[in-house]
Structure formats: structure tokens, C-alpha cells
């Protein structure tokens, strides 16, 4: 990943990890990101870890946003950071969000586990996408956009 100038468009990869085929939320996320001026590489549903890595290499992505809704996210996400390390993209910005774990668990604890797994940010269900985009802009040093 090369250093980007402040005004340059940031490329982000999105997708629903594992055997999960919930597409609607992911499409909304894609639209919101595009609206906010990001270039989105949407991988859709049932995305394997390797697919995220390959797409990020080819498109020189700045960040990867992983979604999961079906409760298996914790299993599916294990080792993802290592795979990016292995592919030479160890410093890529990794974000995860959705219904990440089964049952009622304390969010702070869930977040801690995902950050320990190597994600830079983790978001609980029902998060306001405006906040996700604001964080992403700040984290990537991306330009703000009017409208």
C-alpha cells in the first residue's frame, strides 16, 4: 500500500465473511461509502478470507470492511490479520461490524476480542453508518466531502 495524498480517493473492500449470505446491510454500507466519496470494491456475500486479501492486493485498497450477521463472525475472522501480514499488507486498515457473536454478550468485551484479533475498529449491531464513515475518514486521513 502506497502513501496517498490528502485529496486522493480512498479504496475500500467490503464483503460478508464466511458462509453468511446476508447481503442487504452490506449493500447499504456500500452505498453509504460511495456517497461519502470512497471507491468501493464490493465482494458480496460468502467471502473467504483469501478473497479479501486478493482483492486488496489487486486494487491496492486502503481498508477492508468485514461484515458478519449470522453469529459465526468470531470464528470466520480469526487469522485474517495474519493472512494480510503474509501477503505483505500487514498494515492495512481492518474494520469489522455486525452481529459478531452469538447470544447476549457485553459489547466492550466483544470489541476487545476483535481488536485483539488485529482489527483496528469493531462496531456493534445497529451502529450509525455516519459514525463508521467519520471514523474511516479520520483513520485513513481521507478528505471530507460536502453533501
Amino acid at each position: 500500500m502506497r502513501a496517498r495524498r490528502g485529496t486522493e480517493t480512498r479504496t475500500v473492500v467490503t464483503g460478508v465473511i464466511g458462509a453468511d449470505c446476508h447481503i442487504v446491510g452490506n449493500r447499504i454500507l456500500q452505498m453509504a461509502l460511495e456517497e461519502a466519496g470512497f471507491k468501493v470494491v464490493p465482494l458480496g456475500i460468502m467471502v473467504a478470507q483469501e478473497e479479501f486479501v486478493k482483492a486488496a492486493i489487486e486494487t491496492d485498497a486502503d481498508a477492508v470492511l468485514v461484515s458478519s450477521l449470522y453469529g459465526q463472525g468470531e470464528l470466520d475472522c480469526q487469522g485474517l490479520r495474519d493472512k494480510f501480514e503474509e501477503a505483505g499488507l500487514g498494515r492495512i486498515h481492518l474494520v469489522v461490524g455486525g452481529n459478531l457473536v452469538v447470544g447476549k454478550q457485553e459489547w466492550a468485551e466483544v470489541e476487545r476480542r476483535f481488536l485483539a484479533m488485529g482489527f483496528d475498529r469493531a462496531y456493534p449491531p445497529g451502529i450509525d453508518l455516519r459514525r463508521v464513515i467519520e471514523d474511516l475518514r479520520r483513520d485513513l486521513g481521507a478528505p471530507a466531502r460536502d453533501g
Binding site: R2, T9, T11, A19, D20, C21, K39, V41, L43, G44, I45, M46, K54, A55, I57, E58, T59, D60, Y70, G71, Q72
Partner: protein, 472 residues
Amino acid sequence: MGDRELWLFIDFGSTFTKVVAIDPATETIRARVQAPTTVSTDITEGLGAALRLLEREVGAGATYARKLACSSAAGGLRMVTVGLVPDLTSEAARLAALGAGAKVVGTFSYKLPASDLARIKDLSPDLILLAGGTDGGNEEVILQNARGLAALDLAAPLIVAGNRVVADEAAAILRAGGKEPVVADNVMPEFGRLSVEPVRERIREIFITHIVKAKGLQAAERFVEGILMPTPNAVLNAAVLLADGCPGEPGLGELVVLDVGGATTDVHSVARGAPTDAGAVVKGLHEPYAKRTVEGDLGVRSNLWNVVEAMGAQAPPADPEISPHAFRAILERFARDVTTTPESAEEAAVDAALAGIAAGQAMRRHAGSLEVFYSPQGPLSVIRGKDLRGVKLVVGTGGPLVFSPFRSRILREALFAPADRASLRPVDPRLCVDSEYTMFAFGLLGELDSKLAVRMLKRYCRPMDEGTGNGR
């Protein structure tokens, strides 16, 4: 009759130089002859021999108003393709080269280490396709690979078809190294989307301007108007014309052309390949509408032992009358001489069995696949590649198929099999044969008169009936 104006179409093949004479007024094939290709001495010797045979068939008074050729002689168009990620831009580059009729002798990915560069030099390709990065994507790898290739002691022309942001910079690096690069549109402008047509066009231009001369074929251009394309490209053109037709002359719709040869087996599908299962998840690249694959290890003569190996325990499946000993003896006779044609009923049966295996394997590798996953939401179908189950026409070509009494049996080996549901091959198509083995000629004819080419393709691709193939 002899005074008629005829059009000639010539294929300088690796083994035979084939000449087809077409009468454009009556829209018929007047003659098809062949003589051994003479590329190691002078390509025009074999052509001359073929033309003398032709004269015997059509009489001395004929005039040849148009003369177009294609070629796969002298090793064909040998290409090396370079991309970034193996199943992304590397695969896109490979598909683009295959679609242009090339023989892909090497596919490389990521930053090329010194060992890969040395390997490319050893392969000594006719043409190199350098891709990598989506538009606006990775810049570093294609630039580094351009530097590596620029320093390589290799005269082959190059096409740069990667990330457009740095394509010109990559070309400049190559030019500074004394190379002749041409820039084309990216083979994968956006993630997962292929754009192979612009590269195919550049490949064809370079074939005409550089490759024909580099291979010592230009002597033939004293006689022919031009050697326009590699032979597999002419066959793919014919397949597209037959499927799509042209303005004023409808085609037959989506189809697959299967070309079984002595050294390789080619499959051309002209079909969108959209999933026929409602709700199936499609993964991987969206493959080209006109897709060609070539199986370099599947042929019924020079690659005969590979095919026998693929038969496995089934051998000999052709005929229970043939003893394993006789079967082996026939195989050995075929293997000794690549130009051997079957001489007895037993040999024809063995030949057909080999062709059937080659056809089945080649089609399995060409067609997409289906996997069923059991997710928490129930079973899910995941499709990769082209779903060809709905294709309604399969056309067979290639000597071992066209001239076989068992040709419909051979083609049926290439179809969907209930025991192998994962392979998305045509389920219930009509089977046709390139009856005069002249498909390449119609592909070239399309360059002159596409309506005539479509009409003649429709006339000469004939429905197949078991047992009638023996009349030739």
C-alpha cells in the same frame, strides 16, 4: 465450371497446410485439400503442393480472387502472460491471450523474481502480455515487472494492459530498455470485471505486423493477401458468427465448439453462462462471453498417453471385442506417428474412445462448477465459471472427431453427466459437426463477407446422426 471465381482460405497448420476453395456465387465449398506444412524449409513448398492438389479438384481455369490465411505453424503464437494475483489479473491476461488464439507457454504472477525472468527468457515467447492492478489499484508490481522485463535480453514485442494509471509509465520503462511496447486497455479495469477485447485486437495487430515475419511465414504473403490471425482465433471467429449471426443474417444462439486434435483439444464457448439455478451465488471472475480454452495435454496422437492415463480403469471402453493386448498395440501404432489415421474398425473404435476422453476432460475444465454448501441458513449453491447447462448447441470439429464413424458418441462424452453434477456442461444440446472440417475458413471468410460466412456456417454445420460419419 473451371472459370468460376473462387475464394481461397488457407490454414498453415502445425502438421498440414489446408486449403479450402469457396465459390461465393453458389455459396458452396468447391474443394478442401491438404499437404504437409513445410515451415522448416520454405512455407510455400507445402502450399504449392496443396495448390496442385486443389487444381486437380477444381480444374485449371479457376481464378482465385481472394486469398486469406491463418497460421498455427512454427509453434503457433507463443505467449507469456504476467499479472498480479493468480486468479485475478493473471487469469484475466491468460484468458485474453487464449481468446486471441495464442498458445500460452507461461503464466506469471506477483513481482517477478530473477528466476522467473530467466524462465521467461528461456521460454523465448513471441509476445509478452504484461498486466497487473485494477485501474487505480496496485501500481508498484507492474512497474517493477516492467523494469525486470526491460532489462531482459529478449526481442519479443510486449503489450501493457494493466492499471491504466501507470500503463504509460510501464511502457516508457520498457522503451528505455530497447523494447517495443504497445499499451492496451486494462484486462481487468475493475475488480472482477474482464475486458479482453481491446487486448485481443492488439494481439492480432502484432501478429500481422511482427509475428508472421518473425516466424518466416512472410514468404507465403507473395501468394496470399495476408496471414491474418492465429488459427484458433479463426475458429473462435467462426463460433461467434454462428452463434450471434450478423446484421441481416441471424445466428443459431449460444453454443459450444469442441475441437479435438492430435496434440491439443480446444473448447470455445459463445455463451453468457449465467446461472440456471435461481438463487445461486456466483463467485470468481465473470468470464468472457466468447471464451476459448486449450488443453495442451489432451490430444489423441502426440498426447495420447495422457489421454490413456485419464481413461484410468475404464480402458478399453470402446469395444468389449478388443482385447487389452490389441488395444495396447493400436495405441502404440498411433503414438509412433502423429499423422496415423485409423485403418480398421478396431482402430476407429479406439481412436473414438481416446477422442471421447479428451472431449470430456477438456469440456470439464472449460465449463464452470457447482458446489453446495450447508450454511446456517440452509443449503447454498455456489457457481464458479460459466454455467453451460442451458446451451442448446454443441458443434464438433477437429480431424479425429469429424472423420470418425463414432463422432456423436465422442461429443456426448463432453455433455453433462448425472454422475458429475458439479460440472456445468450442456445438458441436452443438439449435436452438429463441422461437416467438411472447414470452420477456420468460415472464420476467415467473416473478414470479407460476414453474412455469407454465417449462411455457409449454418449450411455446413450439420446435425449429427450416429453411423453416418463413415461416408467420407
